[in-house]
Symmetry: C2
Subunit: 499 residues, 2 copies
């Protein structure tokens, strides 16, 4: 049996959706399976479909190769088994970049080849807030420097987060309980809209699948429900090109989920997500221990982990983590700008900016958060809304500088015995160096970190005042460079060509 | 045979000196040995004497018990063997506190029972500078907050340190070489004056016996010369009550001296110094490694090591070091206030003050240094002279606060899962807490770190402005305390008694 539809045209990396109607029956959530094998030439994907309530089954597909794709379904429902279909994948929209992938070992790139430098922020449950707050969040993001957002599927129970959400991934409510044999498809439809809104802003969604801050029971579901939930989320969302899977925020606080559970979830997503979206897991513990002795961390060397998503306050460890994990390092929490009572959320804007510059010059990527007290308890880190702090414009300034270096990426310059440990130093081959002095205030530097025989144009950057002052002459290895002698200074050195 | 002298009266912890004349012969430095067994009741010390050139042998003794001390000499020179003598040790001078000892496991106390809180500074080779600079140094120290000084026996060869000294521990000079079979007694007489001048200012001398910054050969002496040098220094200086032995600055840069060499020097000093002055060794490497995996460090758990003398920039490790070494932790270098080109010496005064507060509240002690560029290359860290920075008055302010807590000492409050890691917290039993927020800027705190049922008087301290503002009411565990919401704030909480 073949569906008779006009040939669907889908732009590369956009989403095709195929809908099949059956009798309404909530038992479909558990008992009915639908999948399809898509192929285009030698490229083949097995894609899971999902039941969308109301008798509706859906298959979603993100073509990532131009040309004619055909598929055939598999189902334990005879009516949905062996169905075929096709679509024509056409050239991407001019602004479509495709999913983000790991590139060059320790960095990222969009599928279209454009480098991607994550400058993320955090608004864990903005998606559960009132519509006007959600709109504020989108407006703030549209005006801001961020191209990645960490957010949760489940609501958050925590200080400043006690309002009861309207909807949940499962039907029900906290008084009457939840029906874990079904999913609330209206909730997911809303989540999908939110993800699409972020896509329209060019923002990647680092989607957090589990977290410990819970009063509803979502942190302690039965294993079979956990797995069904993961399969369902992946079936619905894997076709969204801007989704990343973050298995958990602070997984090590989910006391009922042992390390083997996470191994299983990595494998399950690895199996269910044909596009292999970026996939990681985020720790809570960050004791002053060397990474190799840190028993609390998931081992990011697992080949299914695409990048290390780390919580830590000391970004000097980044070169060691890059070496140890040999994949990109994203510091997804290193304390937030703000003034709340809790240690994770009360650093100054200056410190937040310092962490960004340090992390980036050390070859990693850093995620922002903001947690200023608010009369209405709408705090960016969790609820979204409006930013109140002073770090975002400086992060925009840094992002601009990094993107001017495109398509190159920074490799950390690991100090030996050269006394350059007052600086975070990253370089892009011989022809680009970014040197950040942080809270050091040298009055001059002997530029002994540079390779010999290259003339550099030098810019002296005030990371707080956001000024870039050209030195006005070129500089070579070993030369003496006079500096402003105050904290927060960086240098950009670019190979002088034909000057 | 008995010397016929009037009974010498020596105040407790002061120095007695007994001189014996022989034929002048420089071979005495190598071939002649003199020692004496001193006793007073059940207290017995074996004290080495030394040859002082010009035919003069000396025995020096610091009586540390009031009463009559007698001694008998031992020598391979028959004329100096079996001599007896005595002295009467009388009550100490009113300002004499005696040598500093380890007390209460992880802290210090003078022999007279007064607590000693080290607030050290560093002027490695002030003793090699011109007399007027030396006087400036003493004047600066007299006006400043420091009660310990790190300084070297050997001169220093390093950036900003290329002037040739006038005298050396060994006779000779860099052109003609040195006579390592002798010592320059005039050099030592000067050093002794310098140590006494510091004693008069109440300053402990953390005397550095070896260091790697050398162009004269002192860092690479023959083993037999190293050992003779150590025995000679100890024989001359062990009777100085304010001396501490620092085996080396940055011992791990002394590439020709393996770990076993340092074991031997610890044993030698342990044997030669009857008073067991404080004894440690100072590292150079401070990679971002956990202490237990740091192969570069001398193992401060060695029972001859009285305290850990550490170089490290991250003072959050202090509670771990205290636990691991189970002895006092002194951070003798954690970067210096200044603006030189070298990473160790260009932090802001704010950062230096932050390091002091952090280290002290974490249960350790911190040593200052200052390295501002200077037209005459007289830089405090090495040459002494004058301070130019802004941290010293703030260190004085902190020292005053700590000494007001006398005789109690701070134990670090090791955070568990309480989100107080935005603060360095030390406490003295239940009745005194010092809480430092560093670069965190909480607008309020729930005081959940405090023990239940105690009413505290609260002072809000601005560590930079040096203000202490009483809260004006008492506070209990768990209460909410409004804070200034800016960096650099500390709290002092003292048990309210009868209020």
């Amino acid at each position: 049996m073949t569906l008779h539809q006009p040939l669907m045209k889908i732009k590369k990396w956009q989403r095709a959706e195929f809908t099949y109607r059956q009798q309404e029956d909530p038992r479909h959530f558990i008992h009915s399976r639908l999948a399809a094998r898509f192929s285009c030439g030698d490229r083949q994907y097995r894609v899971s479909g999902f039941y969308n309530d109301g008798g509706e089954f859906k298959l979603r597909f993100m073509p990532d190769r131009e040309g004619r794709w055909t598929f055939i379904t598999e189902s334990n429902l005879p009516e949905l088994d062996g169905l075929t279909g096709e679509l024509e994948c056409v050239a991407p929209a001019s602004d479509a970049t495709g999913p983000v992938r790991v590139a060059d070992g320790r960095h990222f790139r969009h599928a279209n080849g454009e480098p991607y430098y994550p400058f993320g922020t955090t608004a864990y449950v903005w998606n559960f807030q009132a519509p006007e707050i959600q709109q504020q969040t989108l407006d703030t993001l549209a005006a801001g420097p961020f191209n990645k957002l960490r957010m949760c599927v489940f609501p958050k129970h925590y200080t400043y987060n006690f309002a009861e959400p309207r909807r949940f991934p499962f039907p029900g409510n906290i008084r009457e309980g939840f029906d874990f044999t079904r999913f609330d498809c209206a909730f997911f439809a809303e989540l999908e809209q939110q993800i699409d809104s972020l896509q329209a802003l060019g923002i990647e969604v680092d989607l957090i699948l589990f977290h410990p801050y819970d009063r509803w029971g979502f942190a302690n579901l039965e294993r079979s429900v956990d797995h069904r939930y993961i399969r369902y989320v992946v079936a619905r969302l894997a076709s969204f090109s801007n989704v990343w899977w973050s298995l958990a925020n602070e997984f090590d606080l989910l006391k009922t989920k042992p390390m083997a559970f996470w191994d299983g979830i990595f494998e399950l997503i690895g199996h269910e997500d044909p596009w292999h979206h970026l996939l990681s897991i985020h720790n809570w513990h960050n004791p002053p221990l060397h990474y190799t002795s840190n028993a609390h961390w998931y081992d990011h060397r697992n080949s299914l982990v695409t990048h290390a998503s780390i919580q830590h306050h000391d970004l000097n460890f980044i070169p060691g983590w890059l070496e140890h994990f040999d994949k990109p390092v994203v510091i997804d929490e290193c304390r937030y700008e703000g003034n709340v009572d809790l240690g994770w959320g009360n650093i100054s804007a200056q410190k937040m900016v310092e962490l960004f510059w340090t992390g980036v010059c050390k070859g990693g990527y850093v995620t922002h958060g903001e947690s200023y007290l608010s009369d209405d308890d709408i705090i960016w880190w969790s609820h979204g809304g409006r930013l109140k702090g002073d770090s975002a414009p400086r992060i925009a300034f840094l992002r601009g500088i990094i993107e001017q270096g495109r398509p190159k990426r920074l490799t950390p310059f690991v100090r030996t015995q050269d006394s350059h440990w007052d600086a975070a130093i990253g370089f892009m081959d011989d022809d680009y160096w970014l040197i950040y002095f942080g809270d050091s205030q040298p009055q001059f530097k002997l530029m002994t970190m540079l390779p010999d025989g290259v003339d550099y144009r030098v810019d002296i950057i005030d990371t707080w005042a956001m000024t870039i002052t050209p030195l006005g002459r070129t500089l070579r290895a070993g030369e003496r460079l006079t500096l402003p002698g105050r904290p927060g200074i960086a240098l950009r050195l670019q190979k002088a060509v034909g000057e």
